[in-house]
């Protein structure tokens, strides 16, 4: 049974990884078509010199960084609050944010923002995308930080307070430093889900706030374009590096 199982596992791994490897390989093809003609970097040059693509990538970076900072702060504080005592309503709301289909969250946020336009003078744009991204990232941050908090000894804070620390002092000087690696991997996760999101973003983005996934989607709908292969390969390499970094951070927690 053992060799059969290994063979089966190898086939499933091939299924998981070959499509992306082939996609990346053809980003170096000099031909526009799926016939190998020779090695070339023309699609990378095309990707890097497309002004729309550059603007979309820049928007994605800004959205991902701002929403990661916000959701990591909000989520860390929330996980710490849960650690003290559970809050059933809030944790159910977090679960709801995880299981709500993206498209439903997208249209509900669109309806919400449109409704606020009746009495607030603002439009859809980068800020609405950021607000939405934080809303769906908080739950991921809370889960990662809560897992980290479970490994901590609560009596350390009590000891600090017996020695005269305030509640805030105990949090800031004792618990927060111990959470460092957990906060870093939570932020990585928030960064990836924000950078990757298309469905919710496309519903709440304004005309001037196209993101990288929106560019990829629009270009893919128009038909095959090796520039997508090139930018995809760059994204995969970038996030591959990011996950390796976060795995090393998690390793150093132990």
């Amino acid at each position: 049974m053992k060799p059969g199982l290994s063979l089966y596992a190898a086939a499933v791994y091939a299924f998981l990884h070959l499509p992306l490897l082939i996609l990346a390989a053809f980003s170096f093809n000099s031909s526009r078509f799926t016939v190998w003609e020779g090695f070339s970097l023309r699609w990378y040059r095309a990707a890097l010199s497309d002004p729309n693509l550059a603007e979309a990538a820049w928007n994605s970076v800004v959205i991902a960084i701002v929403s990661t900072i916000l959701s990591t702060m909000v989520g860390t504080l929330c996980a710490y609050g849960f650690w003290k005592r559970r809050d059933r309503v809030l944790s159910n709301a977090l679960y709801l944010s995880l299981v709500t289909p993206e498209i439903v969250m997208g249209v509900s946020l669109l309806a919400f923002f449109q409704w606020t336009f009746r009495f607030l003078h603002w439009r859809l744009g980068l800020h609405t995308v950021i607000l939405a991204h934080v809303a769906f990232s908080i739950a991921y941050v809370v889960i990662v930080i809560a897992a980290r908090l479970r490994t901590l000894d609560g009596s350390l804070e009590e000891a600090a307070m017996d020695l005269g620390a305030t509640e805030w002092g105990a949090f800031r000087l004792v618990t927060l430093p111990a959470l460092g690696p957990g906060i870093a991997s939570a932020a990585m996760l928030a960064l990836t889900v924000s950078f990757d999101d298309y469905v919710i973003t496309s519903m709440v983005a304004g005309v001037d706030s196209e993101t990288l996934p929106m560019w990829i989607y629009a270009t893919a709908r128009r038909g095959a374009n090796p520039t997508i292969n090139a930018i995809s390969a760059l994204i995969v390499v970038f996030f591959g590096a990011l996950i390796l970094l976060s795995e090393r951070l998690r390793g150093s927690q132990k």
Partner: protein, 275 residues
């Protein structure tokens, strides 16, 4: 602990304003009439819900459930042996797990596009089959239910493997020895010991795959070719091109009902620990 209130406050405000209120608006809109230029208007009506019973929309809902169920079954079929392989590996277990998680960290959109690239008429699969002389004309591999199913399985397989692995990894190897000592052949031990004991992982993995699949939008949109294949496409369509927000809202609520019911029925106990 007075501070706890202030620590939870930002999350409370954010989720109230950007989750609870928007979903509440969807509930209200589902009972209103379609506005003349998009948007909503009075009077109140239940018609958006009676329209859900229309065979046209019923078929889409049923197809979504069926596709999600088929994707879940395929993920289980592909994922269980893989999880078993990783759990029993003596070396490199970390690497094997990493290889399962890795695609989960790469862009979902990119992974879906990879299949468009492979399956389109001039894609690699057709080119290879033509070069090998197996077919003359390219096969239409894209823009059908099979392509959508493939995309769903590809996208959510890691969600199945991880919970399966974590239950299989905890199984005591002595159980298999005991089964063998009592005369069970390896396959009998698999079906009568290993699989029944992995039930919690099977349940958790199935729900984790089924839920995103039933509400999927991107996969059916890109691989199904713009036809209204699944319920997620119907929701998106009503809020964009069709401009019928009240009906789109009632479809959203139907989808939410399915998802929340599944979570409450199957996932509640398992998830209790995570938050």
């Amino acid at each position: 602990m007075k501070l706890r209130f202030w620590f939870l406050l930002p999350a409370r405000i954010w989720l109230t304003m950007l989750l609870a209120v928007p979903l509440g608006i969807i509930c209200v809109y589902s009972l209103l009439t379609r506005g003349a230029y998009g948007g909503v208007s009075l009077p109140w009506t239940a018609e958006n819900f009676t329209r859900l019973a229309d065979p046209l929309y019923g078929a889409i809902l049923l197809r979504s459930l069926w596709m999600a169920a088929a994707a879940t079954a395929l993920c289980l079929l592909m994922g269980f042996p893989l999880a078993l392989f990783i759990a029993r590996a003596r070396k490199w277990r970390g690497l094997y797990l990493f290889l399962v998680i890795l695609p989960f960290w790469t862009s979902f959109l990119v992974r879906t596009y990879a299949w468009m690239f492979l399956l389109r008429d001039t894609g690699l699969v057709n080119a290879a089959l033509q070069a090998a002389g197996i077919i003359r004309e390219p096969l239409t591999l894209l823009y059908n239910n099979g392509a959508v199913l493939l995309g769903l399985v590809y996208g959510y397989l890691p969600f199945m493997v991880l919970p399966l692995y974590s239950t299989l990894e905890r199984q005591d190897p002595a159980l298999l020895e005991a089964a063998a000592d009592l005369g069970a052949k390896p396959l009998a031990a698999l079906f009568r010991v290993v699989i029944p004991l992995a039930a919690p992982g099977i349940r958790a993995g199935s729900i984790l795959v089924f839920i995103p699949c039933v509400g999927a939008f991107l996969t059916p949109d890109l691989l199904g070719g713009g036809k209204t294949v699944m319920i997620g496409n119907l929701v998106q369509n009503q809020f964009t091109t069709a401009r019928d927000w009240p009906f789109g809202s009632s479809v959203s609520l139907a989808l939410m009902t399915v998802v929340v019911a599944l979570v409450v029925l199957f996932l509640r106990r398992d998830a209790e620990e995570a938050l």
